[in-house]
């Protein structure tokens, strides 16, 4: 190897390190840009009042799409109520938009004594689910305090799955 080769080696090493750094930085920078923001929406609650999502800005919001006719949805609701009790004081807000008419939704919510806001607005809720990317039930979406969608979960969710996500963003 000659002296020229020695300097070439140094140049290559520097170029390599810069490229590695730039690549990693680009990767980390690009990642948060992937995280989409929540859409704005207004849904009617069980009392017939329109409620806007902006009402809970600044909180960690767990939106759980459900329906009374959906078995797995009903199965996970006591767990969601427990989450609201355990983390409500630290800024968690669970919301339950239902894909059904107000009659059956209200009856079921009352029978279970759901401790978080439930909405019964069939058509807008279906459209909203499409915006959130999945029309299957149950469908849970976690929105952090900055309004970014940070976690999605179609299907039955366990406390072990959601709790680490909550703790990460509380």
């Amino acid at each position: 190897m000659s002296a020229l080769a020695e300097s070439t080696r140094v140049v290559f090493a520097i170029v390599a390190l810069v490229a590695l750094g730039a690549g990693t930085a680009a990767w980390w920078l690009a990642k948060p840009m992937d995280v989409p923001r929540r859409p704005d929406f207004v849904l009617t609650d069980l009392e017939g009042r329109p409620r806007a999502i902006s009402e809970w800005d600044g909180k960690l919001v767990l939106i759980n799409f459900w329906a009374p006719w959906c078995g797995p949805c009903r199965e996970e609701m006591p767990m969601l109520m427990q989450l609201q009790r355990d983390f409500g004081a630290r800024g968690l807000q669970v919301l339950g938009p239902a894909v059904d008419e107000r009659g059956p939704v209200g009856a079921f919510a009352a029978s279970l004594g759901i401790n978080y806001p439930v909405f019964a607005d069939l058509e807008p809720t279906l459209r909203l689910q499409v915006e959130f990317g999945d029309t299957r039930l149950p469908y849970s979406v976690l929105i952090d305090r900055q309004g970014r969608i940070v976690y999605r979960k179609p299907g039955l969710m366990t406390r072990d799955e959601i709790e680490p996500e909550l703790l990460k963003h509380l």
Binding site: F12, A19, G23
Partner: protein, 597 residues
Amino acid sequence: MRFLLCCWFLLWAPALLAASPLDKVLQSNEPEFLPVEQAFIPSASLSGPRTVQVRVEIAEGYYLYRHQLRFRISEPAGFALGEARLPAGKKKTDEYFGPIEAYYNRLEARLPIAAAPKDSGDKTLTLEFRFQGCADRGLCYPPETVLLPLLPDAAPASDPAETSPAASEASDQGQLALMMEERNFWLVVLSFFGFGLLLAFTPCVLPMLPILSGIIAGSAERESAWRGFTLAAAYVVAMALAYTVFGIVAGFTGANIQAAMQEPWVIIAFSAVFVALALSMFDLFHLQLPSRLQTWLSHHSNRQRGGSLIGAGIMGFLSALIVGPCIAPPLAGALLYISDTGDALLGGSALFALGLGMGAPLLALGAVEGGLLPRAGTWMTEVKRLFGLVLLGVALWMLERILPGRLTTVLWALLALGAMIYLLITVRTNKQVLRYPFALLLLLYAALMLYGATRGSVDPLRPWQAFEARPGVPASRAAFLPVKTAAEVNLLLAEAGRKQQPAILDLYADWCVACVKMEHEVFGDPRVAAALEGVLLLRADVTGNDAEDRELLKTLGSYGPPTVAFFGTDGKERAELRLVGETDSAGFLGRLERLRR
């Protein structure tokens, strides 16, 4: 230089990292659920002029709610559907809805068209079908509404060629199920009795002839035609009952008891019964019910004959399940009807009538035999010995299902040798010269079978095979590719579909008498082999009736062998061609021709 290479590689590292799927792996750790259009695949057709048939293929682990199904003809206006005929689903208790039913794997529904506008002409109907289902792992789909065009099930019915006898056999089990829905009770029962009569001389019933004859010849009292008739009647009624029970269970659960009875221990036990019967014919011992049971029976029936009547009944019941378990079109039709409608009364009655029809010739046989059998004396002894031999043959024939072919070939030879020796040692008078040629024939047969056994197995009814049987498959017969699982079949069919190659799938079992016969007479026919050139030939051997076999039958919607399914160049089954039950070369070739068309 190595250093340079390292640097060059490092240059790429960030790019590789950024492009890696690691990002996605970190985000989606939850199990994937199927999209709704893959979880539930609905299709619909017109089955006959006034019935809509809806079928949904349901992915494994997914289910549809019965109470969420809605059907409506959306186009053209003026059509109304009657109440849907839905099979019984899996019962579940839902805390919200209470008791509900769910469908797994496949749903087949039939809907009568209750009203049609007069001027509907030949416009294509559109079915609006709404369904809602969930996955076992905890996910529900929103109610889904699909629009399905309703096309006739079979090829255009206006084609005059379609009404030829060969064509009218097509999709027969479906047509029979439909007939049951549309005709009145007694007409259906009468028709099935007729179908039974037609089936009476198929290979599935033939093995019952020697069994019943043996029972009558071995019966303790044999004074009259009436006696033979009552014994045969007990046998036949029990056989018909077995068909009824089998059909209702199969219709409701899809479980094939006949196939489930083909366990080695059942075969061995039943063969042992025949060997015992045979030995009692040779007067080696006297078969009698335990004395306590005999006392009980005579006490309750006031007739000493009760015992053998019940014995004949038990044999009849078991014969139907064990001896000749074959699916025939009327049987499949009735099973389809029961599983579609849950109507066990009409379905069961039809099956009972079918069994009685199949047994009617046996009644005649019983009466004739009871009347003709000599009262007593050496003649009777000879007849009994002959039946003993036949019963040994029946036992051996059943053991063929579980023993290796060469061994049974040797056993057939031994049976023939035994018969020959018996013939020779019992010669008492000079008048019995006729025995010598018979003995010679038996010796020849035994020699053929023994010679054949050294080269492979030989069909006992075709001893001349000893000269043609070669290890391997003769060139002039259709060669099947063995398949086992439903997934395997789907893969091969998809492959054939891509290559635009038609395919057939044959369901076969050693215990299926008609399958074995078709193997010789249809698939062994050089004309059939020639016609099958270029067709993908799949064969599923369901002899073992294990979980994978049952899964395959379920996927095909079949109750068992013999069944041959035909698949067009698009890889889809031509359901109207499906062959259920036995057929001959001509019938098979006719279907092949329609497949090619």
